[in-house]
Amino acid sequence: MRRFATVLLIAVCAFALPPLLTALKAAFLLTQLTMAAYYALASLGLCALMGYAGQISMGQAGFFAIGGYASAYLSTRNLAAASGDPLVGGLDALGLLSRGADAYGNPSLSLSPWIAALCAILLAILVAVLIGIPVLKLKGHYLAMATLGFGIVIEKIARGTPALGGADGLSCVPAFALLPGLEVTGGRAARAVNFTISWVVLAIGLLALVNLVNSRPGRALRALHDGEEAAGAMGVDTARYKLNVFVLGAAYAAVAGVLLTHYNGSIGPGEANAMKSVRYVAIVAVGGMANLSGTLAAGLLLNFLSLRGVFGSLDDLVFGVMLVAVMLLSPGVRSRR
């Protein structure tokens, strides 16, 4: 079916591109393609929220950062000193801790990445619920400003908290073994398999959203976008649906943040920057708003070019200008009542 064509294409690329690029002696590109996939995943979440439900969020980078930072913090925090603590002992007994060595070779004991990642995603969801309930009462540019404010607060927290590494962020984030032997981690040896992991995750994320927008709740989201009064009159609990899709968008960003952080082995406050949020919005706009495949294509391409340094020092400017251009040129965006 045509609806699933992009999903299929991404899934095929996930396995076909590594050997192909290796044969072309361009395997080095896989690194940026992997990172671009995670950024595209965060953009897809925003596409559901903004493109389909019509609720703009200028804080998508905040949720990405919450996911990344929380997973990094929890999986790097050394609990060795507290190993006498009954809680730590209990976690250890349950096999939820992993042993390693810190940067100085001292033994370390920290939460296993699976637990850290799950906690990080749950934290992002919790924050999304707490933020979403009040701000989703706002509409249009008021909602944009409120979510922008949220993103700024997250960046300030990341930058200002010593435990989160301040301006340097967190590093030495361990590999995340999704399955035994299947690790989200950087480094040359893991490059091809990590590309495959990221594109498979992206294909799954896309598939779930394609299913969503063509379903009962998806129609309800599109209907409330086009008019909350009519949607409400047909029995759609608009406040509830807006919150659900806001949380869903945040969860996509958090998953992307978690995976990219373990892939890179680090995360910095720049990930929470307002300009990053503008990027996500620009990508959804360039992709055609209520268009998952378009968002995906724009997300992959623009992030790939940006990561390759094609835009040079004009990087942020490119995304800003693109956003302005789309807003001015697209009749679909401008003529909305």
Partner: protein
């Protein structure tokens, strides 16, 4: 017991008493009409009943339950559907998709089931589609089912909105000027259609300016003027009511 009982309902906008202590009821399996000149408060009354507006005072009982001030989506779940005086459709969705939204209250799939496309959710989705198609066929607009709604002729858009409301299988259907903008042939079709909808067991509350339509199909008529109910009765009684003829029927010859 009446299906809908409105008691002393009132709502002002600033100093304007748009609905001023209106009481009336709509019976099961009946077509009840509300008429009155422009600005009489008919749409406001609908909004108060359906929950789009909160009343300053008064009560609305629907099927024995007090729904006064209840949110529109909760009212809809209790079996009240409506069309709007100014059409409210999702313009970029197809006619079929719009009507499928009418099945929202009759289906259950949430985010997880939808995203995972569970077999159960897919079955439900097929049923939603079938039931929506039935409503579309009842309205005779099957040929437009796959077309984007914004591009459809006005009369067809009215039908899509009506099909969406019917698809929810409501107990009570609120129609706000369904004939406005329709030509004579379409209006005749509408009258026949409203009869068929009633025959399916859906009670109807109708606001309409087309007097021949109202007199033709209504079982009971309430007349509003400046927010107050000035008369109520069978079509024949209303037609011969002096006050009604003076303020409304006389001045209006369409």
């Amino acid at each position: 017991m009446s299906l809908l009982e409105v008691a002393s309902l009132a709502r002002s906008f600033g100093g304007l008493r748009a609905v001023d202590g209106v009481s009336f009821s709509a019976e099961k399996n009946r077509i009840t009409s509300v008429i009155g000149p422009n600005g009489a408060g008919k749409t406001t009354l609908f909004n108060l009943i359906a929950g789009s507006l909160e009343p300053d005072s008064g009560t609305v009982l629907f099927d024995g339950e007090d729904i006064t001030g209840m949110k529109p989506f909760r009212v809809a779940r209790r079996g009240m559907a409506r069309t709007f005086q100014a059409i409210k459709l999702s313009r970029r969705m197809t006619a079929l998709e719009n009507v499928m939204i009418g099945r929202h209250v009759r289906s259950r799939a949430g985010f997880p089931q939808a995203m995972l496309a569970s077999p159960w959710a897919r079955r439900e989705e097929r049923r939603i589609r079938e039931e929506a198609m039935k409503a579309i066929e009842l309205l005779g607009i099957a040929e437009y089912a796959g077309r984007e709604t914004g591009s459809l002729p006005f009369g067809v858009q009215r039908s899509v909105e009506l099909a969406r409301a019917i698809a929810s299988e409501p107990k009570l259907l609120l129609l706000d000027e369904p004939a406005s903008g329709l030509n004579i042939r379409e209006t005749v079709g509408l009258a026949e259609l409203i009869g068929r909808i009633r025959a399916e067991g859906i009670s109807i509350l109708l606001v309409e300016h087309d007097m021949s339509l109202v007199m033709d199909i209504s079982d009971e008529i309430a007349v509003l003027n400046f927010g107050r109910k000035i008369a109520q009765g069978k079509p024949r009684e209303i037609q011969s009511n002096r006050e009604v003829v003076d303020i409304y029927l006389g001045e209006d010859d369409d």
